[in-house]
């Protein structure tokens, strides 16, 4: 059929099964918004800032595993969205982001709201397109969805000039994708997998190092079964929280800069690292030359470039972590004697007894760690937990009892303050049955506060739990520890009244200073089912511990700090 470029975008989104689109209109994308108005195949949710629209699409994608879709206009609309694209790129989140562009005849003339969008997005997307003819749109849209979700997932950006979105051309979405230069390898090499299993069988202190790739591959069940079949303990990266399940006896904890003593010691003492969908990020490894120093490395990853990038892999396996683990499980039943690692499990348990994750509770003022633990007791598996970035984020990763895949939504790689609220909004749009909580800080929450309006308008009752210490806490922590307590620009003495702020948007606000008030506020917010801001006045000087100072070795942890 012959239709205009805008209609093609609508038809393609519907054909891809898209149900929700987050976006913000503007001059160059108006043709597309006109077609959005005329259709009822998907719902468009108007964010109040383009960055938030992308984060909402990320949240939507993280919870469902589907491709998130966002739509924005040219110029400032696009530049506002760049942070979201970069965030999705770092955390391998599949997105298709469509931006308007000035008409072809004006490109390169410094036209109103013109920016070289594909030039900017090139380094923060998996791929991008500037569509110069509407006849290319069906192919580009189909490729974009395929590229976004296949291989190592990531955001794909499509820039559509205004005359192209008006141009009429033939639309046939049934044509097959022909990308001869892009063929991601999903099946791991069988011989290599066998060799890796032999290495495991010969090791005495093997350690599963589970990364966010397991979530992307929907492979938490396989990870649990693999660990159980082999009787091997596991550490999770920040991005993998929830993979093993909180009570799993083989789960040590999170490793890395704010990982547990036991997890970091296990990584330092292991003789064989089994990396599954993890990328040896600097926040995980600490000082590279001291990382798992005496260990061999098995590295399973869908992205060949992640293998031997930072840590040399003795057994590199390029493939989808789910299918590789399936094969490993089959081989493990023959090859691996799970009793073999019992002494190692004891060693690990001993590490945990020495220095378990802990904090000192306080009867005067709420401790942020208590708030997270209590939230976990109150909501547990029934909630999806998003976070912003900072101390609260680390405490959430340390103390919330994650038991489900895709329960924890946070900005890991880019560390984007302002991510949490819009992400939690996208999460709620995707999974309305579950409570969507954004654990945030008094710094982060103000970075996308305008989304209160989106949530109220679209009845997306996100609960914002603000762990309010009147500080940019994480930076303050570093200033305290490494800058001789010179708290430069980190005290947040001036704050809005968060309760009134929420109410002015039509939400509900709470001020919490005691444990009783905390319980009451959570229960009431869940029950009332409207957008909530819970302003929890927490201990001001609490630090996230343990901590591996940046560039330090994992086994050299600060276990407690006096502030």
């Amino acid at each position: 059929m012959e239709i205009n470029g805008s209609r093609m975008i609508i038809e393609a989104l519907i054909a891809e099964g898209v149900t929700k689109v987050f976006g913000y209109p503007g001059g160059a994308i108006m043709n597309v918004y006109d077609e959005i108005y005329k259709q009822d195949g998907f719902e468009h949710i108007l964010a109040r800032h383009e960055q938030a629209a992308i984060h909402a699409a990320e949240g939507f994608s993280k919870v469902t595993g589907e491709v998130g879709v966002a739509m924005i206009t040219s110029g400032p609309g696009f530049t506002n969205a760049v942070t979201g694209l970069a965030d999705a790129y770092m955390d391998s989140i599949p997105l298709v982001v469509i931006s308007g562009q000035v008409p072809m005849s004006l490109i390169g003339t410094d036209a109103f709201q013109e920016i070289d969008a594909v030039g900017i997005s090139r380094s923060c997307t998996k791929h991008n397109y500037l569509v110069t003819d509407a006849k290319d749109l069906p192919r580009v849209l189909k490729e974009a969805f395929y590229i976004a979700r296949s291989g190592r997932p990531g955001p794909v950006h499509i820039d559509v000039p205004k005359d192209v979105s008006a141009q009429i051309a033939e639309f046939d979405y049934s044509l097959p994708i022909e990308l001869e230069t892009y063929k991601p390898n999903t099946r791991g090499n069988a011989r290599q997998i066998k060799k890796a299993m032999d290495a495991i069988a010969g090791s005495s202190r093997p350690l599963l190092y589970l990364g966010g790739g397991i979530m992307n591959a929907n492979a938490t069940e396989e990870a649990r079964e693999l660990a159980k079949t082999m009787g091997i303990p596991a550490v999770e990266t920040f991005m993998a929280r929830g993979t093993m399940g909180h009570e799993n006896p083989l789960l040590i904890s999170m490793l890395g800069m704010h990982g547990s003593y036991a997890a970091n010691m296990a990584m330092s003492e292991t003789d064989l690292v089994i990396a599954l969908g993890a990328r040896f990020d600097d926040r995980v490894t600490g000082k590279l030359s001291e990382f798992a120093k005496n260990a061999g490395v098995i590295h399973v990853d869908i992205d060949p470039a992640s293998i031997s990038k930072l840590v040399n892999a003795n057994y590199p396996i390029v493939g989808d972590v789910k299918s590789v683990m399936e094969e490993m499980i089959i081989l493990a039943k023959d090859k691996i004697d799970s009793e073999r690692y019992a002494p190692w499990l004891e060693t690990v348990a001993h590490f945990d007894e020495l220095h378990p994750l802990s904090y000192k509770d306080d009867s005067d003022r709420l401790k942020p760690q208590w708030c997270i633990e209590r939230l976990g007791e109150l909501l547990g598996d029934d909630a999806n937990i998003s976070t912003d970035v900072g101390q609260h984020q680390m405490w959430a990763a340390q103390f919330y009892p994650f038991r489900r895949a895709r329960q924890f939504i946070s900005s890991g790689g880019l560390g984007t303050m302002g991510f949490g609220f819009p992400a939690a909004m996208g999460v709620k749009a995707a999974d309305p049955e579950r409570v969507s909580v954004n654990i945030t800080g008094d710094g982060s929450i103000l970075m996308n506060i305008q989304e209160l309006m989106t949530c109220v308008e679209n009845k997306l009752p996100v609960i914002n739990l603000i762990l309010n210490n009147n500080y940019l806490g994480m930076v303050r922590q570093w200033q305290t520890l490494f800058y001789d307590k010179r708290h430069s620009s980190t005290p947040l003495e001036m704050q809005p009244d968060f309760k009134m702020l929420a109410e002015s948007f039509g939400g509900i606000g709470y001020v919490v200073e005691t444990k009783e008030e905390f319980d009451a506020a959570i229960k009431d917010a869940v029950e009332k089912n409207v957008v909530a801001m819970i302003d929890v006045k927490t201990h001001r000087l609490e630090n996230v511990m343990p901590m591996v100072p940046a560039g330090g070795s994992l086994f050299n942890m600060m276990l407690e700090s006096k502030d």
């Binding site: 030039g119 090139r122 380094s123 791929h127 990308l179 230069t181 060949p304 470039a305």
Partner: protein, 157 residues
Amino acid sequence: MEASERRVLSVIVINEASVLSRITDLFSGRGYNIESLTVAPIPDSKYSRLTIATSGSVRVIEQITKQLHKLIPIYKVIEHADLVEKEMALIKFPITESLSDIDALCGAYNGRIVNVGENVIIAMVADEPCRVGHFLESIKRFNPKEIVRSGAVALER
């Protein structure tokens, strides 16, 4: 520090807008070095061939190759081990310099004089990049006014 070595890569890419900037962005964004880069379409195909001379440790070169592979419009990356490599240079001399001396020297480096005008002599050579370097050293005494190097092209043996 791991030892840095020079490497020549051939990169076969789909001929499309912005593919070159994808590659150069990758090099600058990840802090890799480009010594020289040449590009031209492959006859009777939709592909172009880039020849990139770069340097880095074994690990860096491996990363460059893998990261290039990750770019969607890249068809193939060939990391040359055993290759024939050539580079061309054009040199402009003042007319006052000795035509025969320059011609003889060019001859030793697969070159010749290609143009003699009212004020200048233009010569060309085509040889291995390191030999082109030697040549450019040896002609200094003829007071070259301008030098253009093409960058390396290479074929696997």
